[in-house]
Assembly symmetry: C2
Homo-oligomer: 160 residues x 2
């Protein structure tokens, strides 16, 4: 599926070129990963924060569907392959120093979070009140799907 | 400034509690950092992707202004202290496994990017066309400020 003959990425040689140029020179960290923020193209909400390796970024660019690197399963992850909630890419952006990616996607009425909510960011942190303890508020009230029905007995990717 | 007497963070002991509970148990990586995505509360665009350490997250929660950990300068970074574009926090969210933070902020007509653009994500990556080389498209046409006037000869935080 991946067309390995295309050399999509330019070597990082010059800060000016990386910031002001028009060539793609993504920076992968010591683990070979680049952080990715995925938003809903319709609602603009953040759906998830994940990571890509070289192959996942190339696959996403080529196939118009979001691929990530699963740090818990240690493999390429075609998002939605199990749940059915594939992410159709609407826009891909890269930041100034090219060390993070913004993916805007269409998931219809689907969900993005393995816990069952639409967005992984379903809880807010109270702030500005130094007196109270920090009790999270659920901003999403209902799950979109039942994770037990979708994932069965698959291991939970959340790690302590 | 930081009220160290408040124990804001609960120890991570139980996956169910982390995902479905209402206590804040952020996961900091091996470098003591948690990734943070910052969006504009008005336009909903992503302004930047950064990192916080424990102190930066506590300061942000307490002061209602965004603090980060600068990986290039290796110190706490009160965003906007030099440029004047302080980020006033409107909402803070945490994701399912509590290893990333979403900050929604007000920056008025200001900017967030040290290159001078409003958002750090001022370029898009073409996708779905496997034939062409990858030439980035500038989605922002004009800088909000001149970085030379604002930062002078301060070292550029972008690293190869």
């Amino acid at each position: 599926m991946l067309n390995k003959s295309i050399n999509m990425f330019k070597k990082r040689e010059n800060v000016g070129e990386i910031e002001e140029g028009n060539l793609l020179s993504p920076k992968f960290d010591n683990d070979g990963l680049i952080p990715v923020v995925t938003t809903c193209a319709n609602t603009k909400e953040i759906l998830m924060h994940g990571y890509m390796n070289v192959e996942a970024l190339k696959l996403t660019i080529e196939t118009k569907e979001a691929y990530y690197w699963s740090r818990s399963r240690k493999k390429i992850w075609h998002k939605g392959k199990t749940s059915g909630f594939v992410q159709k890419v609407k826009e891909i952006r890269i930041d100034d120093d090219q060390d993070s990616v913004w993916l805007s996607v269409d998931i219809g009425d689907g969900a993005s979070c393995h816990v069952g909510y639409r967005s992984c960011f379903y809880r807010s942190i109270p702030f500005g009140d130094s007196s109270a303890s920090t009790v999270l508020k659920f901003e999403e009230k209902e799950k979109v799907f039942d994770p037990k029905k979708v994932y069965g007995d698959a291991p939970n990717p959340t790690k302590l």
